[in-house]
Symmetry: C2
Subunit: 510 residues, 2 copies
């Protein structure tokens, strides 16, 4: 908790940017073009609309709709109103949406009046019949703004209070609501300006990823904070993306690989000028379109220069806590920790492991969330345990290995399956692998690899064990290898519990 | 107050830099060369030395000595020990030093054993006979470190607690002890990395200004934080400065104008290679040495490119709150506010004045001090009043005018003397001017200018009044001008109270 004198909130970002950038365009969305002072005025009015509906300090407000400049305004308005903004994924199932809304219990939902939203809206109203409602795309939002007071309610007097909820991925169980603070978001803005590749004032960013993801939002926040131009698009559409890059001379964009492929194909005749674009987050073109893509844009080829806003991060830490960009390249795969967050690699007891060894990634500092809404509070003296595995390299750089789905205890040693799996996958005959622990009368557990081979590539278990032994510590190598036709999968991911059930010799999923 | 989970302190800077920069040199001081892990280890040991002497959380520790890597270590060690570091100016008078020590009451003083410090040391011991004592330059410091525990005491669990005291200038009355926080210093580090011209990793900075000034310290902190190399020099000496720039290939330095003059003269024969130097804070060469200086260094000529770590700031806000550097140039003289501090121009009631009008500069945000040690606490809902006058320009940029020494009320209007003085000084015949209020039966007060003319440059009062009227609002022009042989001065500054006493028609100093 910080006092007003020492706070700098998302509301302050809008208030101050209106003053130091009085003539600068901040957001383009469809035919709407808004300057920083206009955003300041509109967010004040929206904050008052929310308060008139009954939103009080600490209340949640949800967004159930597409990308739009109003989504961005809604987050800043929640700050001014002292509320917590929750941009939600409206394409989840009814059951998922219901579970999330019951968790968050927003006082107001801002949603769409378009027919495709009928089902999600009906569902939301059934779950929360008493929530206030505002449609952002039928004119009622603008009418409400016109009628609202233009006196800033200024309820944001603590920049360590929650201001934004990001729903985490539901890897196991249901998604959780990570509550982020203004202080954490502002620090990320400063980090991205310093070493994360955001270029103060001179950048135009096409925010074409879904804005309920922190990875998309954090770049849009930073660019806004640093006086750049955010170009919004309701949802991704390759031709519209091309048209906007051409019209607005976008220098950066968030675009996934499949959209890049479509863009390169439809623009083969050069009908859109994409040469302003020099930085793309989210994906790369397929190899056969490499030459076309890199000649129709100014993007550097991967590896030809340090990447910009790239690193390891989690929703619970306002995204990145390690950075490439302007920090020196090392042997690690994900840059280095940014210097205003403590990042450690620890064993299950929380003791830091030596350099070069794998452990769980923990973090501490201003970007750490307040906690998960409605769940047990975090230890104020402790660390945020990310649930991910990493390694500090001898040169100080950082490697992220994957989620810490489980750990095998064999004798006194800890073996993380992901490390063994990565070693196995380096073998040309291995298509995929899942490493599990099986009961062992001597060691408690021993390491077993269940392996799916690439078509027509034979390999013997002993050969694979030797292959792994050459790459990682001997105690981590599989004691047994089971070669299977096909690993059980859930979507694109190997279904580890199913592998354990089938090949685990009675070991159950922890 | 922030919890440990969300804090990032100066102690954390050292701890984390040791991890992400394990092989990097951090500080060069004389023949000592120290890496980041070495600084981490040494600051832990010094923190334990201080705790062994009896320093507890919140206690102050003073430094009474020259620049040295140990001064830098002492600040970071105080953070780890939960204490507050106070680097003091040892060249003050005995009375001034005594007053400061009585204010701060340090538990331990770290000082010099060199004979030139005998008087200041005796004085300090007389004021605070019970304070612990450690000499940094007779070997006892290193002996104490050798004997100390290497287990980090980790008492820095709140980055909004005081960690550094900077004594403010004693313009009127005695100096005050501004207590700054880790949070504020770390934010300044990030700002300097983003827009203040500090270049992550690649910069070597010769810290040749006195390190009890925030203007010198903040660049050294930021460079340390961003992985650069700090080169220390006990005190400024033109030849030694040249030698160190040559030996260490320094890219930036803090050097005052007179030292630059000496350097340009003594290096006329090019005996030192200064071409690594491309950024100097603190001064510029005299015109006759311009060509020599800009050809023996790589410094850009003033105005040829945006300046780096330059802007308006105060000790009470960890230095700068407006920046040139990477923010766009405008019509204002001091860049734009950095986007994580609120900066406003207000009237005496605290209401924001319109763009283009002069008022007092107030600030809010993480860089604001905790308060002055021992004085009334700050208003947690308020602003930091800087005592300086500024103006927001129409393009959003910022102009600093000078200290708000007083304000003249004439009718309903407020006139700030500094603005009228600046206008008068644009006249070629005016050497210096002091503007005061004198009693006026109609308006309460009217504006009077007391003017000292340049040698052999005659000017009439009416001419000067007309000259001012062409430049600023008519109600601000002097109603009377008194031309004097010489303005009363106190050192280099016009003695305003004396001017009022002599030419103020009975008006007394407020």
């Amino acid at each position: 908790m910080t006092d007003r004198l020492h706070s700098f909130t998302l509301g302050d970002v809008v208030r101050e940017n209106a003053r130091w950038l009085p003539d600068t365009e901040a957001i383009v969305c469809g035919d709407d073009r808004l300057t920083y002072p206009e955003i300041d005025a509109r967010t004040t009015k929206l904050a008052n609309v929310l308060r008139d509906i009954g939103v009080e300090r600490g209340d949640r407000v949800a967004w159930l709709g597409l990308n739009c400049h109003r989504l961005f305004e809604f987050i800043f308005a929640c700050s001014k109103a002292g509320a917590v903004a929750a941009p939600l994924n409206w394409r989840l199932s009814s059951a998922e949406t219901a579970a999330i809304l019951e968790d968050i219990r927003p006082k107001v939902i801002i949603g769409s009046s378009r027919p495709e939203f009928d089902e999600v809206n009906a569902n939301a109203r059934a779950v929360l019949p008493s929530a206030g409602w505002l449609s952002y795309d039928d004119g009622s939002y603008e009418q409400a703004l016109d009628a609202a007071s233009s006196v800033d309610p200024a309820q944001d007097d603590d920049d360590e209070a929650g201001v934004l909820i990001i729903m985490t991925a539901a890897f196991a169980g249901k998604p959780k609501a990570a509550v982020l603070t203004s202080r954490g978001i502002v620090q990320q803005d400063l980090m991205l300006g310093a070493v994360g590749g955001v270029k103060p004032m001179t950048e135009t960013y096409l925010s074409s990823g879904p804005m309920f993801h922190i990875g998309v939002l954090l770049k849009a926040f930073a660019l806004f904070h640093w006086g750049g131009l955010n170009v919004m698009i309701p949802r991704v559409d390759a031709e519209e993306v091309c048209r906007l890059i051409d019209r607005e001379h976008c220098t950066s964009a968030f675009v996934f690989g499949p959209t890049i492929k479509e863009m390169a194909e439809l623009n083969a005749d050069g009908r859109y000028d994409l040469h302003s674009l020099n930085d793309v987050l989210g994906g790369t073109p397929p190899p056969e379109l490499d030459d076309a893509w890199y000649s129709m844009t100014s993007c550097p080829r991967p590896g030809s220069q340090p990447r910009g806003a790239v690193g390891y991060g989690t929703s619970e830490t306002v995204g990145m806590i390690t950075y490439e960009g302007r920090l020196p390249v090392g042997t690690g795969t994900f840059g280095r920790p940014g210097p205003a967050m403590a990042v450690r690699i620890v064993d299950p007891d929380g003791a830091e492991v030596p350099v070069g060894q794998i452990g769980e990634i923990v973090a501490r500092g201003p970007q750490v969330m307040v906690g998960y809404l409605g769940l047990e509070p975090m230890d104020p003296q402790g660390w945020r345990w990310t649930g991910d595995l990493g390694r500090r390299e001898a040169d100080g750089s950082f490697t992220f290995l994957g989620p810490n789905q489980e750990m095998i205890k064999t004798g006194m040693e800890n073996v993380y399956p992901v490390e063994v799996e990565n070693a196995l996958k380096e073998h040309p005959a291995v298509k995929d692998a899942c490493v599990i622990g099986v009961p062992d009368s001597v060691w408690g557990h021993s390491v077993r690899a269940v392996v799916e081979l690439a078509d027509g590539e034979p390999a013997e278990p002993d050969e694979l064990i030797e292959f792994v032994r050459d790459r990682i510590a001997s105690y981590k190598k599989p004691k047994s290898v089971v070669i299977v036709e096909a690993l059980p999968r859930s979507g694109p991911f190997v279904d580890r519990p199913a592998v354990k059930g089938k090949y685990g010799e009675g070991e159950t999923w922890q």
